[in-house]
């Protein structure tokens, strides 16, 4: 099967690789481009560990072919921190609020929460829970993930988040 050159802008940089049409976006990112931040969890469109942002949409990259994302603007967890390594508000929130234990779901959680906060900068707890309902965490029980996202929302709004992690 012939290879197709697929290019997209990932974390602000133009990148490309020659892949088969059947190459999934998650494999393109991890294997062709070495961006291993997004994880393969269930590989069946359920768990959300592979979530990346494609043209302003949270997408399960195990359920999209790389060719479908050709020309797109993609954000992965590698693009969340500043160029100087400074953590984004969400990354800081996950650290401060203990929003992870094993960390496997975290890249997907953060990328999904990023889009959620872009669309709804001041979400209620219920809106956060619905917003991350496509991301499974098998460690935390979600309580601290919700707090981490609340922390980030507050920080992005210039407020201090006072609630402590459990």
């Amino acid at each position: 099967m012939s290879l197709t050159n697929v290019s997209m802008t990932i974390n602000g940089k133009s990148m490309s690789a020659a892949v088969e049409p059947r190459t999934l976006l998650i494999h393109y990112l991890r294997e062709n481009l070495g961006l291993t931040g997004a994880h393969i969890g269930c590989d069946t469109s359920h768990c959300g560990a592979c979530t990346v942002d494609v043209d302003g949409r949270s997408v399960k990259s195990c359920t999209m072919f790389a060719v479908q994302a050709a020309g797109a603007n993609v954000l992965t967890i590698e693009g969340m921190a500043g160029a100087d390594g400074a953590l984004s508000a969400l990354q800081e929130g996950f650290r401060e609020m203990h929003g992870l234990q094993c960390g496997y779901c975290t890249p997907g959680m953060i990328i999904r929460a990023h889009r959620l906060l872009q669309e709804n900068p001041n979400p209620s707890e219920s809106e956060i829970r619905i917003g991350i309902s496509g991301n499974l965490c098998r460690c935390t029980g979600y309580q601290n993930i919700v707090r981490a996202i609340q922390y980030a929302a507050a920080k992005m709004a210039g407020l201090e988040f006072k609630e402590a992690a459990e």
Partner: protein, 288 residues
């Protein structure tokens, strides 16, 4: 899981897409959001030799009013349906239904066209389209053809669409001002298909139900149009015996398979329970 090999095509308009389907062999498939097709391809339950991606076909996008009808382009995503002000104003049942489909990520990519055209009895939009008396607009080599949603579904994954035809849009009459509406879906978890679900659209006049349509999801080989259940509530103020009668009529036509969601008997019973709940909420929302 790696899908089988295929050639990828990305037509720029619908005519080109239809022409491509005419030229390619019969194992060519259209791909919309791909959130039913790609998982099937990863399991090698589907092995198309060509994929014709409709993502670049702008004319299949968007929601508009056209001569007393609402037209929704097939490539409109569930996320866009949830965000549509036009639908929120004229047919809010679309939002209520889209909100219980899968999860946020799937809704960003999954389309109404895929949900309607796939023919999976677990999809939520077919029963809703039947309830709204929608029409499926098909485009093929011989031009446009329209099929009523109530006649569209033949058996699981088999629809009235002929090979080479593409679902371009669904269209339905704008429901009357003040109509009542509800979509009730029983499911085990986010992302699950319905154990049973019911869509209801009704109108009320002088406190009594003047018109009613009911559709059922995932309790048969196709979505079901529950005509008898709907007829049983006309002229009533939805008292308890009427609700029980409507629920029983819905249960009677349900023929669900036994699966992880419950026994066939349980799921048929839940078709009735969802019907009663949807009727109750729709009636409360309707303006006399």
């Amino acid at each position: 899981m790696i899908p089988g090999s295929f050639e990828y095509h990305r037509p720029a308009n619908l005519s080109e897409a239809v022409a491509l389907l005419g030229q390619l062999d019969s194992d060519a498939r259209v791909i919309a959001g791909g959130h039913s097709l790609i998982p099937m391809m990863k399991l090698r339950l589907a092995t198309p030799t060509h994929l014709v991606d409709l993502a670049g076909v702008a004319e299949l996008k968007g929601v508009r009013l056209e001569g007393g009808e609402i037209v929704i382009g097939a490539m409109t995503t569930q996320h866009e349906i949830i965000g549509s002000e036009l639908l929120a104003q004229h047919a809010p049942i679309l939002r209520e239904t889209a909100e219980v489909i899968a999860d946020p990520q799937v809704r960003y990519v999954g389309t109404i066209g895929g949900n309607v055209a796939n023919g999976d009895p677990g999809n939520d939009m077919p029963a809703l389209m039947m309830t709204l008396d929608a029409t499926c607009v098909l485009r093929g080599a011989n031009g446009e053809r329209r099929v009523a949603a109530r006649d569209y579904y033949l058996s699981p994954y088999e629809t009235a669409a002929e090979p080479g035809e593409v679902l371009a849009a669904v269209r339905f009459p704008v429901p009357p001002q003040g109509h009542g509406w509800a979509y009730e879906k029983l499911k085990r978890k986010v992302g699950d298909y319905a154990t049973a679900a019911a869509a209801v659209i009704l109108t009320v006049s002088s406190g009594k139900i003047a018109s009613c349509a009911i559709g059922l999801t995932n309790v048969g080989g196709t979505a079901l149009f529950a005509a008898d259940a709907a007829a049983s509530v006309i002229g009533t103020a939805l008292d308890k015996p009427t609700l029980a009668r409507a629920a029983a009529a819905a249960t009677t036509i349900a023929e669900p398979a036994a699966d992880g969601r419950g026994s066939a008997e349980y799921r048929a019973k839940m078709a009735g329970v969802m019907t009663a709940r949807a009727l109750t909420r729709a009636f409360a929302r309707a303006k006399s």
